[in-house]
Every structure is written in structure tokens, then in C-alpha cells.
């Protein structure tokens, strides 16, 4: 829609672009979201409703009301009903203020409401805009199903003379080569999508030999980072093959997004019109989405930094949504001072500790992070006593944390898996670094205790009956001493375990497998509790929310799902990626989820709405690792291209590029204070990066922030603080202990 706004002055473009119904991720995603919500009304109303009420923030309520109004206007009565039930709105909730005072209790939120009230109108217009896409989407969703592939592909039929394709293409090529340097880089972006679509058209219309000749002639011109796709493309020479090929379907169904400055675009358009080159013009209109911006054309390096994804760059407006990247306020916990070690400390320690604690708590609540979502935007589980104890442990450990920096690098402990003939495929550590879990290609999940404390099962039901339930150490008594061992094996999956994640309270373990299930294991009984079935294809990754209860999974079916442990069906389905979702990660505030994909993009999703709020492009290979910085502001991503990219979530900007690895990066982790980023790779190294410097060095002015055209410095070598080599052991997992000791894990290849 930004493109629409950008094209206002140019009436032609506006109509050109508007005619095509939106089929990009946004539309799909809304469609899916709607489908899910309506698909499970029972569960939503019974268990979800009260939670949802708590979760609805004032501004979201505004949005909901706007959506309701829109639906009503379009006579979608059923949808209105369902949505209202889902959202837990009263039947006649005309006055938003009334409900919101009940929903939002905190004083700070009131200010936000007032603020939001100012641009309700703009918000409304936005909502109507996006929901129009949503309304159209259902029909589109049907069209996407396999039997209707023909419909999709048929767009390629009845085109011009196949022999002229080469002429058209080389004509354009000649033209672009002759334009001014500043425009050439921008217009060169057109080559790749044009090339692909022209080739596909030739193939679809059974001009096999022409297609081959065309490919031979021009495939060499394409950017090297499209090599992978070109290889797939070159294998495809028959119309029949096109039907089953997902990559091509993606290419066809999604519009390739290009960002071009207005001047360059005018140049291109004029040229094509002069030459009556309708063939190319049609393709541009049908299959390309040109995001026009005003201002300086971008340089080649700027373009290269952002391109490389399967479907071009992200539209600018895709990254405009506000993201509440701030951290949630930590619950107030009275630090109990009756601990033995505390007692042993000097007397004056007590009052000292108490006072600053209270002060800091007070100040914290006062200066609520303006970028943080409201505390109950997403309903979060209440803290249990054990969680509080763990929080206290965490605070204690945090005081002993080593402050890392460029002159103070962390020590590394390497956990080598021995005798792992069956193939280690996933590793996770608990937050307190007391347990390590491995997922193996032989479908097993194994858990080891890293501390001297052995793993014990809970006693059998019969034995549990004999226990004195009133005793203080009942939690200790329920454990069966006889089962104590250093490791436990859990069987249940029927395929390699590709993802594994501990729950924050260390009572559960999640594993995702090739068999299409995500399993929840109890670490008290070491048995499987639930198998979540929803993905029908391999599930590549899963992760628990930092607050527990929720978890996300993503896999070969190109959708990420948000689950709650007590629901056997997903709560949200995040759809929009054009290829497998290879890794999933929760934002520290649990309100967002990031997914990396084989389509070489990263998307950030809003857990509350299910919307995609950020699309990051720039990687040249499938993304295999993601990490949020502890303050929630930044995201780091690593891919098979061996590069780590840094992203500013708030602005939706690329912040830096860290080059150095020579193979796939399977693990990324920020130090506990966020100063250092550790990356572990197949090239048998762990590298440490000075990310604070990377973030500080980047100068952003308003223009770059507005357009997202960041000019990156090539300073990887300065930022690289250290390269730690292993002895032929690919690093597949990294973890910083609470005291900032770096733990790495892998299987030796010797």
C-alpha cells in the first residue's frame, strides 16, 4: 500500500498495481488467521475466551471494533459472531472505553490509550485497508490448493512469439547497460525475476528448445546468489514438471518485490513503452511488485545487501507496523533473605540488599519501557513458587556475572558428544545450564545432567500414595532414588529429532521431528505427555516461550504454528514463508516470534494478531539460526552462506553484516548482557563478535531510517573479537550460562 501511496501522482502505476489482488504474505496470513479462529470456536470460547479478554489491549480493541464494523457492513454476520466470541467482546460493545477500563488495569496503559485515540482514524483506515485483503483472501486460498495449480500457471499461457523472447530480453539488457550508472544498479534488479518468468513461460508453452537456449544465453548474467535457484530452474524443462515444483509455484504465486527509485522506474517504463515491448511490460505488471520510493537511487552494494531472497525484497510497508520490542516488567519478587549463604554473609548485607531492591523495583515500575507491550498483551502463566525461586537464583547468579567486552572474552566449555553414531541433530541447554538434551537421528531424545545432581524419576503411583504429603520435603520424597542416573533416553518419535527445547521451569522438554509431530516430555517422569500433530511434514524446529506455556514450531509445510501446551491444536498459524521454515525463535517478551526460512527471509510475527510484522531479506542462503538480543531490540540471523546479519527490530533495518564463517551457521547466541554475539558453525569454529560496536557504529539518519536503505560498512574484521577452533567438531549449539560462560556443543567428526 505504500507503493500505492508512492504512486499517487502517477495514475498509471496506481491502477497497474491495484488491479492484481494481493497474494503476498500479508494476505495469506490474514486468511489463515481468520480460518484458524473460525475453525476452532469451541476451544476458543471455552478455554481461550477469558484469557483473550485479559490479553486484549485497548488499541487492539479499537482494531477489533473496526474489523467488526467492516464485517457487518459487508454482511458477514457469521464472521462477526465468531470474532466477537473469540475476542470476548460483549454483544453491544459500542463504547470501547467501557471495556477497556475493565481489561487494562495498569495506569501506564491509560496514557497509551489517549495517545492512540489521536490517530484512531488513521488506524481505522489502516485496518480497513488490510482487512480488505483479508476478505479477498479466502477465494485466493482456495486457488492455492493443489488441484488449482493449473489456474495459477495458466497465466503463463497465450504469450507472444517464443523466438522473440531472446530479442526482448537482450533489448532490455542493452538498454539497462546504457543508462546512467546510478540507475543501472537499480534496474538490473529486474533481470532475475524477468529471466525466471520468461523462462517459465517458454517452458509452460512447450517451447523446450527455446527455453533451453534462453537459459543458456542469459543464466550467466544473473547474480551469483541466485545460483541455487537457477540450478533448480535449469532442471525443469517440461510443463508437467512445473506442476509439482514448489519453488516455481512460490515464484508464480508471490510477486517478486523490487525497490526502485522513482526516477529509475520512470526510465524503465518510458523505454518499454517506446519500444512497445509489451511482453516484458506484462510480466512486470503481473509478476513483479515494484515498490517505488522517492529519493536517491540505491547503490549496487546497498541493493546486494538486501536482495537474495526467493521473492525479492520486503515491501517497505511490510516493516512499518509498530513492534513492541521492549521487555516485560519483571514481576516483583521479595528476595528472601533467610537463605543459609545469605545468613552467613555479614550483617550489614541485609539492610543493604533490601533497600536497593525496593528502590530498583520502584523505579522500574515508574519507567516502564515505552517500547514494551503491555504486561498482559499476551496472557502469560502465573508465576509458581518454584519459578520465583528460580528467578531468585537467576538474580543471584546475575550478580556474579562476568562483564564481557572486547577486552574480556568469555571462556568456552565444549560439550562433545561421544559415540553418537546415530547422529546428533539438535541440542539444547536449560537456562541454568544444569541439563543438556540431545535429539538424535535415530529418533531418540536423550537428557544428561551436567551437574553432579543425577536425574531421577518420580515414584510410581502406588509408592506416591505412601508419601506423607504434608512434609516439607515432599518434592524430594516423590523422587525415586533408584532411578538416579546421569542420563535418560526418551523414545517416542519415529524420525530424526530436528528441534529440541527445554521449558523455562525445566519440567518439560519439547522435541520436533521428521515424523511431523512435536512432542512434550515430562522431565519428572521422563515420558511423553503429548504429541502435537498439526504439521504434516517434518518439523524442523521448535522452541518454548521464555515464559513457558506457549511454544512455536515450524517445518517443511512452510507455516509456523503457535501452540499452548494444554491445547492439542495450534493457537495461531503463521503463514507467508515461501519455503520451509528452518528455525523459530521467541522474542524475549514472548509477544513475537521470529522464523527463518529456506526462502532466505526472516519474518517476525505478532503472537497476538498472527500478523507478519517484519520481513527481513538479505541472506543468500537458507537461514539456520536466529537469536534475539537480551534487550529485545535486535535480531541476529545466520545462514548457510556463512554470514551473520544483524537487524533492528524496531526500525526494521539491517544493522550489520558479519562475515567470517566459511560454512553454515547453526547456532547464534548473545551473551547475557548482549555485548557479545557468539556464532557457531559447521566450519568448526566459534566466533565472537563485538555487536555493541556494530550497533553503535552504524550512523542512521532520518532518511535511511525511513527508507531502510542502510549503507553498511564492511567492518567484519574489526568486529570479530575471536575465533575459537575446535578439533574437527562442528558447533551446533551455543549457550551462555547465567554467569556468561560460553557453552558449546557438537559431535566430533574424527
Amino acid at each position: 500500500m505504500a507503493a500505492v501511496q508512492g504512486g499517487m501522482s502517477d495514475a498509471d502505476i496506481e491502477t497497474d498495481i491495484k488491479t492484481e489482488p494481493s497474494t503476498d504474505g500479508f494476505g495469506n496470513n490474514n486468511a489463515n488467521d481468520g480460518r484458524v479462529l473460525s475453525a476452532s470456536p469451541g476451544s476458543g470460547s471455552s478455554t481461550g475466551s477469558n484469557k483473550q479478554t485479559a490479553a486484549v489491549t485497548p488499541e487492539d480493541q479499537q482494531t477489533l471494533l473496526a474489523v467488526l464494523q467492516f464485517l457487518k457492513k459487508n454482511k458477514l454476520i457469521e464472521s462477526v459472531e465468531i470474532l466477537r466470541r473469540e475476542a470476548g467482546l460483549p454483544e453491544n460493545s459500542l463504547d470501547p472505553k467501557a471495556t477497556e477500563s475493565a481489561g487494562a488495569g495498569s495506569g501506564g496503559a491509560a496514557g497509551i490509550v489517549d495517545l492512540e485515540g489521536g490517530d484512531v482514524s488513521s488506524l481505522l483506515s489502516r485496518v480497513t485497508g488490510s482487512s480488505s485483503a483479508g476478505a479477498q483472501a479466502p477465494t485466493k486460498a482456495v486457488a492455492e490448493d493443489q488441484p488449482d495449480v493449473r489456474v495459477v500457471l495458466s497465466a503463463y499461457s497465450q504469450q507472444g512469439d517464443p523466438t522473440l523472447y531472446e530479442v526482448y530480453y537482450s533489448d532490455l539488457k542493452k538498454f539497462i547497460e546504457t543508462v546512467l550508472d546510478c540507475h543501472r544498479a537499480e534496474l538490473s534488479q529486474v533481470f532475475y525475476p524477468l529471466f525466471v518468468h520468461m523462462y517459465l513461460e517458454l517452458v509452460y508453452n512447450n517451447h523446450e528448445s527455446e527455453a533451453k537456449a534462453f537459459f543458456e544465453k542469459f543464466s550467466g548474467d544473473q547474480e551469483c546468489y541466485y545460483e541455487e535457484d537457477l540450478r533448480v530452474l535449469s532442471g525443469l524443462t517440461k510443463k508437467e514438471h512445473m506442476r509439482g515444483n514448489e519453488t516455481l509455484l512460490d515464484f508464480r504465486t508471490s510477486k517478486f518485490v523490487l525497490r526502485i527509485s522513482r526516477d529509475s522506474y520512470q526510465l524503465l517504463k518510458r523505454h518499454l513503452q517506446e519500444r512497445q515491448n509489451n511482453q516484458i511490460w506484462n510480466i512486470i505488471q503481473e509478476h513483479l511488485y515494484i515498490d517505488i520510493f522517492d529519493g536517491m537511487p540505491r547503490s549496487k552494494s546497498q541493493i546486494d545487501a538486501m536482495s537474495g531472497s526467493l521473492a525479492g525484497e520486503a515491501k517497505r510497508e511490510a516493516n512499518k507496523t509498530k513492534v513492541y520490542y521492549g521487555l516485560l516488567k519483571e514481576p516483583e519478587i521479595e528476595l528472601p533473605l533467610d537463605d543459609e549463604d545469605e545468613e552467613a554473609e555479614n550483617e550489614e548485607g541485609k539492610p543493604k540488599k533490601k533497600k536497593p531492591k525496593k528502590d530498583s523495583m520502584g523505579s522500574k515500575s515508574k519507567k516502564q519501557d515505552p517500547n514494551a507491550p503491555s504486561q498482559n498483551r499476551i496472557p502469560l502463566p502465573e508465576l509458581k513458587d518454584s519459578d520465583k525461586l528460580d528467578k531468585i537464583m537467576y538474580m543471584k547468579e546475575a550478580t556474579k556475572r562476568i562483564r564481557l567486552g572486547s577486552d574480556n572474552l568469555p571462556s568456552v566449555c565444549f560439550y562433545t558428544f561421544l559415540n553418537a553414531y546415530q547422529g546428533l541433530t539438535a541440542v539444547d541447554f536449560t537456562d541454568d545450564s544444569s541439563l543438556i538434551a540431545g535429539g538424535f537421528a535415530d529418533s531418540t531424545v536423550r537428557v544428561w545432567s551436567v551437574t553432579p545432581k543425577k536425574l531421577r524419576k518420580v515414584k510410581s503411583a502406588a509408592d506416591l500414595n505412601l508419601i506423607d504429603k504434608e512434609s516439607d520435603d515432599v518434592l524430594e520424597r516423590i523422587m525415586d532414588e533408584k532411578t538416579a542416573s546421569e542420563s535418560k533416553i526418551m523414545y517416542g518419535h519415529s524420525g530424526p529429532v530436528y528441534g529440541i527445547s527445554f521449558s523455562p521451569d525445566r519440567n518439560y522438554l519439547l522435541s520436533s521431528s521428521e515424523d511431523g509431530t512435536v512432542r512434550l516430555w515430562s522431565l519428572l517422569t521422563f515420558t511423553c505427555l503429548v504429541a502435537y500433530k498439526g504439521h504434516n511434514y517434518p518439523v524442523w524446529d521448535t522452541q518454548f516461550s521464555p515464559y513457558g506455556y506457549y511454544f512455536v514450531s515450524g517445518g517443511h509445510d512452510r507455516v509456523a504454528r503457535l501452540w499452548a501446551t494444554d491445547h492439542y491444536q495450534p493457537l495461531r498459524i503463521f503463514s507467508g514463508h515461501l519455503a520451509d521454515i528452518t528455525c523459530t525463535r521467541f522474542h524475549p517478551n514472548s509477544n513475537y516470534v521470529a522464523t527463518g526460512s529456506s526462502d532466505r527471509t526472516i519474518r517476525v510475527w505478532d503472537v497476538l494478531s498472527g500478523n507478519c510484522v517484519r520481513i527481513f531479506t538479505g541472506h543468500k542462503g537458507p537461514i539456520h539460526s536466529l537469536a534475539f538480543s537480551p534487550n529485545g531490540k535486535f535480531l541476529a540471523s545466520g545462514a548457510t552462506d556463512g554470514r551473520v546479519l544483524l537487524w533492528d527490530i524496531g526500525h526494521g533495518l539491517m544493522m550489520g553484516e558479519l562475515k567470517g564463517h566459511t560454512d553454515t551457521i547453526y547456532s547464534l547466541r548473545f551473551s547475557r548482557d548482549g555485548e557479545i554475539l557468539a556464532s557457531g558453525s559447521m566450519d568448526n569454529t566459534v566466533r565472537l563478535w563485538d555487536v555493541m560496536k556494530a550497533f553503535d557504529d552504524l550512523e542512521t539518519d532520518d532518511f535511511t531510517a525511513a527508507t531502510g536503505h542502510i549503507h553498511l560498512q564492511d567492518n567484519s574484521q574489526e568486529l570479530l573479537l575471536g575465533t575459537y577452533t575446535t578439533k574437527s567438531t562442528p558447533v551446533i549449539h551455543l549457550h551462555f550460562t547465567r554467569r556468561n560462560l560460553l557453552l558449546a556443543a557438537g559431535v566430533s567428526q574424527l
Binding site: 561421544l418 543438556i436 517443511h556 547453526y666
Partner: protein
Amino acid sequence: MADREERRFAEVSRESVRLMAEGAGVELGDDVAALLAEDVCYRLREATQSSSQFMRHAKRRKLTVEDFNRALRWSNVEAICGYGAQDALPFRSVKEGELFFVEDRDVNLVELALATNIPKGCAETMVRVNVSYLDGKGNLEPQGTVPTAVQSLSDDLLKYYQQITRAILGEDPHLMKVALLDLQSNSKIAALLPYFVYVISGVKSVSHDLEQLNRLMHMVKSLVQNPYLYLGSYVRSLVSSVMYCILEPLAASINPLNDHWTLRDYAALLLSHIFWTHGDLVSGLYHQIVLSLQKVLSDPVRPLCSHYGAVVGLHALGWKAVERVLFPHLPAYWANLQAVLDDYSVSNAQVKADGHKVYGAILVAVERLLKMKALSLSQSAEGHSGAHPGSVVGAASYRVNSPGLSPPPEPLSEAALGIASHLQVGGAGCHWEEWTPVPLPAMYCELYSFFGDSLAVRFSTGPGFGTHSPCTPSQLSNSRKEPPGPASNLDTTRKMPQLTANLNISPRQDGSPRTDPPPPTTRGAPIYLSGLSREVFPKARFTSPQTTPPAFSFLIGGRQMGQRCQGRRPFQTMFATTPPVSAVPPRTYAHKLPVIGRVGKPVRRWTCSHYSLHLPL
């Protein structure tokens, strides 16, 4: 198309398709076969592409059959069984039919089922943790393995490191010589120095293996001699390894058959060499070494072999060290040694033999001390006689002239001195403070009281010294005439051939290290030392080391006194002369000394130009 010239992928030809169809009993037309072949190719490529995804998620680099099968399964194609083996499958051809196939032998299931060698379950999967990097620095690997960080070196260097260490520590003596020679002359191994030093520091773990210790010491020598290496602070590490070999009661010395004495001698030689050539790299090293030697010597609990090491170590550091540490300590030590030597019980036999070794070492050391002292005194006397004709040679005189300076030589020469200056600077041991030089005659008397007739000093000079030296050729011939009988009547079981070896330990003539090259005159009569003489003499000494060939040899014949008389032991050593010595003929005490000795076969000699540190291998 199958008949296309250039091929982007491996393709299944239409002939193959037709053959396979025939195998299944179907006749195919050309066009059908071509279409099928192309489709098969495409499907194979597709499956391969999606199988690579399984490989990536399994975090592997190698695509397995299993990955491919998964891809097939997910695209609703039957998986291919029977190819899951880890090893490569043999591919065979039948010439007649031009057929190629994968060998697929029959498996006798009955045999397999009844087989007795049931494979044991493989070892349990486990996790092992090790600290890889501490505070950003690499952890040292256990002995014998390549340090992790070596892998960051270039491949060539790494290979060199492995080859060299393997050659030196390996079995082949010839290979070892070659390796040592290269280590000594290679100009590009600076980056490996830490690793070699680290390897050498492994002496402690091989203290049971004389052979390995020897090899490591040779490695030290090669490194020290390599002119391209800047040892820097690694000197300290090397010295501590060498000191370990000199002083420690090595596990190897438990067996009396092990010739650890040679090792100690050699290490001492090495110590002095390191010290002369690289002593200036680490400040205070000389002092530290001397102190630790002194500590060992004064510790009666230490075994005699350690004491022996201390003595040869001091001897190797120069006569000044002997004078300062050994000589003052001798009365106290003598009692202990005497007790050992006087014990004739059978159980003591071994200890007594060791005692004799120490005795011999001390004797050699003090004799050189006497000789050098005499030499320096005479030099100073002659060198400055013109300026101070009336000066009296001796400690008493300079004590008078420089009352404020308790260790007189150093303060004057401090500016020029590198290490010797630390003698009093780092004076942790009060011993230094108390030390006052003993005049030569007194020293001689005292020593004579210990050693009796065994103590003998004789200077044999070259032709240039003839007129000055009281040690005439006739005396030499006299000694030569003496029958070798007494020497050979030693207790044969306690023969100590090593004694001659330790006589090799006669580094340069002066008593201070490389950066301390003041003329010998400073020692005897520092009072006469002026800036001028300091400059003149070193130059004279070092500019023409080879031009003055005459060497004087130092003959020691000895017989123990008193009832412990065991006959004579021949001692001999030869010294390369230092030029100033040749310029200034020594006035010696030799004529006063009883000469009991004989000229034996010349032992390996130390030369200035080439330090023959090679021990017989």
C-alpha cells in the same frame, strides 16, 4: 535430451531406460524411452535437492542414503532399501554384456542367525566436557597431542611441527640428527617456537626415560643455537626444563645402570650455553639459577645426584659462581660427603659411588676456580703493573681501596653488565651480602685441606706461554711418564667414566655471561678497572677468537688423601684460550702446586667457534 552434448547433470540415458524396461519385460519405443529418461532425470534431481534439506537439518556435510530415502518417502515414492551401508558399494562391470552393476552378494541368513560373534552394542552415547578456551585463550592440550591452536597455523608449519617432533622423539637416530640440524638452522619456524618450548616442557612427564630426556635436551640445544630464533621470555621455560634435568632426582636414576650423570652434565653444559648466549633476555635469570642451585646444594635431604647436578651446574655457570656458592658452602657440605664416603657398608655401596661422583665434580669445579682465579690475578697484575707498580695483588688490597663495596666487582662494571648486575640487585639470599672474596692462597689452603694431593692445578700453555709458564714441558713429560697403573686400580665396579665427561663442562674462561664480557682483570683486581680497560679488553677478546690458536690445557691429577686413598684418578680438561690470555701470559700458582697427573687421551674439547654439545648418541 540424452544425446545432447554438454550435460549439466548426471543423466539416465534412454538406452538405460530401455534396458531396464526390457529387464521388466516391456518393450519401449524410442520416444517413450526418451521421455521417460528425461522424466526420471528430473525426478532424481528433485529428490536429490529435497534430500539435501534433510542433510542440512541433520547438521551433516555428507548426504546419506537415508537422506535420499526420506526425500523419496515424503514425495510418496517407495524408498530404496539395502544401500544404507557406511562403506562404499563396489561397482562392477561385465565385459561381455557391457553391463555395470552394484555388487549384491547373497547373504546366508541361517549362518547369520547362528553366528556366534554377535556384535556387542556400541559404546553408550555420552557427553564429555572440556574447557576449550579460558578467558579467551586456548587451553593447552595434554602431553603428546598437538595443541589445538596449532591448527590455526598454516598447514605447512603444522606439518613441519609434527614431522620434527616425531623425528626427534622417534626411534630413528639418523632422522633425529637431521631434524635437530634443521631445527638449528631453519629460519622460518619462529611461529612454532611456543610449541617446541611446550614440547620441551614435557620433560617432567618423561623423567623415567633417559633417552627421551636426552632428545629433549638436544632439542633445546638446537633451538638455542638457531640464529633466527628470538627466544625472548621462552628462555625461562627452556632454562627450567634444563634445570629439571640437572637437578631433579629423576626417576631414571633409580636404576644405577642408567647413565643419568651424562644427562646432567650435558644439561649443565646446555645451561651454561643458554646462559652465555641468551642470558640477557631475561633479567635476573642468573641470580635465580644460582639461588636454586645453592638451595639444592645446601639441602642435605636431597639425593647425591641432585647435589651432583648442583655442582656441575655451578661449574657450568663459571668459576665465579663456584667461588661464591660452592666454595663457601664446602666446609658444611664436606662433612656430609665425608660421611657417605667413609661408610663402607655394602648397603651404602651405591650411595658411596654417587658420593664419589659428587666428590669428583667438586674437585673439578674448585680446581678450575683456583686456576681461573690465579689467571685473573696474574692478568690484572701484569696488565696494570705499569700504572700501579706497587699494587699488591689480593683481596686485602682492594678491600682497602674500596671499603664501601662489599661485592666489589659488580658495582664498577654494573653499567656494562647484564646479568651479573643482578647478582646483588636481586639478592634474596643473604649469602650474597655476606660474601667476601677469599684471597687465593687462603682458598688454596682451605681446598687443600679437603682434597689434599688430589688438588692439582697445572697450566699447559702453548708456545707463546713457554717463557712465562712455570709449567714446563718437562713437567708435562714427567707426568706422562707416570705409570697408568694407579689410575686403573680403581674399584672397577665404581668406575666413573662420566667424570671425564663432566670435565667437558668448561665453557668460556671468564665467569660471566654474554652481556657481561668484561676482561678477566675485573675479577681479580677490580680496583684497577677503568672505563678504558673495560673497553679495550672485551674487544681484544672477541675480535680475534680464532687468531690465537694456542690453547692451554688444564691437567688435574688427583689422589685422595688420608686413609681413603683409592689411588689416582686422572682428570683432564682442555680449555680453549681466550685471546687476552694469550696476550697476557698467566702468572700461575702452578709451580707451588704438587703435580700429580698425567696426560691422557684428549677428551672432546670445547671450542669457541662451535660448541660441540653433541653427546654420543
